[in-house]
């Protein structure tokens, strides 16, 4: 593994090789899943609830270890990554959750700034970058609002702005439209596609298979933990 996450000269951004995840030796959440995602590529990870989508994202996020198989993300081989380097990995991953996970006592601006603060960026850089990403996702006007004052769609855009602020190697979204209506869901998917066009590598996990299919992106379909379809 190279030690420089900023060296982005790799074609394959994510490599999932024969990954199996079992819980207690009885429940198989993922079974021998393999695929590669190239730099600048976007994929929808689809499947019903319990198909293994969230488990796969947790493994990529290094919240859990696979029972067998390997995952590499850019310069990181996750199996070899020591615990003290997990924060470093996560600064190079953007994660959007279904429930937004915004800090209630901080404004939208401060929530976005958090990811840059923990990365040790300067105040000037933070101010500039937060303005940029909030404009990019269309919530700049709401920068002084607290999460409770935002609609679901706005809150999720703020969470997205936070996820992309550090220009991550890979943007992961776990059921980001789970708490949104159809219009907001579609708008958000369009926003992910726009970010992808601007160069971001994206995986969006969703159970909304039909809507995901509308965007002409790669579909990775999971059923009972197995990769049943890869539209590449």
């Amino acid at each position: 593994m190279t030690d420089c996450a900023h060296d982005r000269n790799f074609k394959t951004m994510l490599e999932v090789k024969g990954v199996t995840k079992e819980y207690g030796g009885r429940i198989t959440a993922l079974s021998n899943v393999s695929f590669e995602l190239e730099k600048g590529e976007m994929a929808f990870l689809t499947g019903a609830s319990g198909a293994g989508k969230s488990t796969l994202l947790r493994l990529i996020f290094r919240e859990e270890f696979p029972t067998s198989g390997e995952i590499s993300l850019g310069p990181y081989n996750l199996a070899e990554l020591p615990g003290n380097r997990i924060p470093d990995l996560r600064r190079h991953l953007g994660y959007v959750f279904q429930d937004f996970r915004l800090i209630s006592e901080r404004t939208a601006y401060e929530n976005v700034a958090l990811s840059l603060e923990v990365a040790g960026k300067s105040t000037r850089h933070i101010r500039k970058r937060v303005d940029e990403v909030m404009q990019q996702v269309g919530v700049w006007q709401r920068r002084k609002s607290y999460p409770r004052q935002l609609s679901g769609g706005e809150a999720q855009r703020v969470a997205l702005a936070r996820a992309i602020a550090n220009e991550p190697l890979l943007l992961l979204a776990d059921e980001p439209t789970g708490n949104l209506d159809m219009k907001n869901s579609r708008d958000l998917f369009e926003l992910f596609c726009k970010l992808n066009l601007q160069g971001a590598t994206v995986i969006v996990a969703t159970h909304q298979v039909a809507m995901a299919s509308e965007f002409g992106k790669r579909i990775l379909h999971l059923e009972d933990g197995a990769l049943k379809q890869d539209s590449k």
């Binding site: 924060p87 600064r91 800090i103 006592e105 990811s115 923990v118």
Partner: protein, 285 residues
């Protein structure tokens, strides 16, 4: 700077969200540290008294009644060569009588025809002679000398005093160890509550890649600050107690500035240790 502001904000937030817990922790640390503080104060003062006792400790060598001037001079020469004897003073029979008069008044000896008091040498001895074995050996040696009638070395009071001081110190150490454990526990408990209160924020920080020190430091500093304030208030209480005792019972020497700093830093360390334990136990970062 930003980091410091973040830490201050966390501490203010904790004080705002759990004021009773914060206040209770400070008071408990104050009271907990008061006990070893009192022992420390007592041990210090007793050690000072012990030093004064040692400095004034003498061996009185009473001479036989018919000792000649030449005998006195020969004995003086012998005594001066003894190891551990730093100074000697001779008291003649007249001096002894004078000292009795000084101490007890004229009436106690006015009916006596003759002066019954013996002449004596008073030996000032150094610390090596105050050890029991050395003291016994010296007394035995002096008692065996020809011209010596009796040797009086009133060292029992010193030994008793040293024994009490030693007991106080040992008891103080036990109390201090207990207080260290209870202080750590109290601080850990308060920080645990603060962590539980901030669990959501901690999880989000982990998601965005905050390092372990970035997340934990505010909690550790919170614990340290509680310990510091508790110990500072405890030393203030100790000062008030020492002042009261000095005015009403006996003159007490308060802790030195150096000792007060050690005392307060101990509180800081206790608080931080407790917080570190709490973060290890309750924060899986």
């Amino acid at each position: 700077m930003r980091y410091l502001l973040k830490t201050i904000a966390e501490i203010r937030r904790a004080a705002h969200h759990q004021p009773l817990s914060i206040f209770g922790t400070i008071i408990t640390i104050l009271l907990a540290m008061l006990l070893p503080g009192i022992f420390w104060l007592a041990a210090n003062n007793m050690t000072a008294v012990e030093k004064r006792l040692k400095a004034n400790m003498t061996v009185d060598v009473f001479l036989v009644d018919d000792i000649s001037q030449a005998g006195i001079e020969k004995l003086r020469g012998e005594l001066l060569t003894l190891e551990g004897v730093s100074d000697i003073t001779f008291y003649s029979k007249r001096d002894a009588l004078f000292r009795i008069r000084e101490s007890f008044g004229q009436s106690i000896i006015q009916d006596l025809d003759d002066n019954p008091l013996p002449a004596s040498f008073s030996l000032t001895v150094d610390d090596t002679i105050l050890e029991p074995e050395a003291a016994d050996s010296l007394v035995a040696h002096l008692s065996a000398l020809d011209q010596v009638e009796e040797v009086v070395f009133a060292r029992e009071i010193l030994y008793r005093f040293s024994s009490i001081t030693g007991s106080i110190k040992r008891f103080g150490i036990v109390i201090t160890v207990l207080v260290i454990f209870s202080g750590i526990f109290i601080s850990a408990n308060t920080v645990r509550v603060a962590i539980t209160d901030r669990r959501e924020v901690v999880e989000i920080m982990q998601v965005v890649g905050a390092s372990r020190p970035y997340i934990l430091t505010p909690f550790v500093l919170l614990g340290g600050l509680l310990g510091l304030i508790g110990a500072a208030l405890s030393s203030l209480a100790l000062w008030l107690i020492a002042g009261y005792v000095s005015r009403n019972l006996a003159e007490l020497q308060f802790l030195s500035l150096h000792e007060i700093i050690v005392f307060i830093l101990t509180g800081l360390l206790l608080g931080m240790l407790g917080a570190i334990l709490a973060t290890r136990r309750y924060l899986k970062v």
